[in-house]
Symmetry: C2
Subunit: 219 residues, 2 copies
Amino acid sequence: MDQRTSSEKAYRAILQAILEGQLPKGEFLSQRMLASIADTSIISVREALKRLEHEHILEAIPKWGVRIPLETRERIQGLYGVREALEVMVAYLLCLQDDPLVAQEILEKATECDLITTEGKESVDYFAQKHRELHLLMAERSGNHHLKLELERLGLRSLLYQSAKSTWANQVDDWRNWHRNLVGEIFSHDPARAQEAMHRHIQHGLHHDLVMFDRGMFV
Amino acid sequence: MDQRTSSEKAYRAILQAILEGQLPKGEFLSQRMLASIADTSIISVREALKRLEHEHILEAIPKWGVRIPLETRERIQGLYGVREALEVMVAYLLCLQDDPLVAQEILEKATECDLITTEGKESVDYFAQKHRELHLLMAERSGNHHLKLELERLGLRSLLYQSAKSTWANQVDDWRNWHRNLVGEIFSHDPARAQEAMHRHIQHGLHHDLVMFDRGMFV
DNA sequence: TTTTCGTATCTGTTATAACAGTTATATTGT
DNA sequence: ACAATATAACTGTTATAACAGATACGAAAA
């Protein structure tokens, strides 16, 4: 925990409190209360809240404060839609530039992902981290820096689903070579195939999360 | 100017100052100076700056403050890339749902756009406004609320280019039926065609802005 | 008992001032 | 005159307290 500014300290404290489920969902959160649990001033908390709002982790209503949004199918689909739009563009750009060195680099990262045997909570967390690194690497290598920035911002939200995803374990085995295949499709010299592959990849994740949601594992 | 909060007052004042070119580009802006021209406190200015940074109108370096980014081809291409990703997704979703009523509504808005004869500065501003309304309407009708929110946020940046676009006038005539054709392609029952049409539409705009940039009309 | 009014205490918002760091200027010592 | 140092004036950041509004509680009046 080597945060330099007080706002970042507040950001991490609040984010952690959210991820650990220590804050009520759907109710407005008192800024003074947040300031006390983050051990900072209100203004640092407000800056942190602005950032969490931008990352779609919180939603703000002017003059009424901020709250943890209640999940709905529409909300999950909506956020996945935005992410899919950006990721499909990444796949398109990667396919167009068609650089063997970049392809090799990404393929190695994908292999690293596929080889993780997800058993137990910490290995699932490890997989989630590597998976995130893979997608951010692809965004980085797409050549469009802003695409990476936007995905970095949105990607943080997926942390919220990690606990629910601890139940993956036995399902993940179906995904062996999943990412290697994705990378293979992306560098198939056919932009349409690259986009389609990424489209299916994200849709698969969406479907998985919706199943989790329907089972009530998100509340 | 009926802003309710002080932060919004600061936001509008700073945005206006940027659009009117009253602030130096590339240099760090003093928050106290901004507070004096916005006639508010520093903290309201800081909240406004956070929002402007979020909209990619300003860029922030921690502990070093905020500045108006110097335009580069890479930056323009990058932001257009993000926007294209989202808009192509909008086209895809509109094509999939294939609702004749929605198609009709959007076609009317597109027609409204195409019929504007852009002569003089104010009519160009009027066209820009209607054009923005058209794209936001499509995003709204895509059924994904978050797509619209993201486009709304990014779209504000295009205001920066409006002054340069005042020189459109004679070129815009080539674009007659441009938007009607776009809408026609989107509702062609072929998702690939819809995406391709939107892709070309955005690429056209990008190309136009790059030409403007190369002519030095952005500085 | 029910209604009304006032007070006390929440809420988000914002202004002031102090803190911490850097930069530039001026002053001092050689 | 030149160099080193101290001082002054900036910078972003943040803590404190006050402001404005809404809400809840309770006492007093009908």
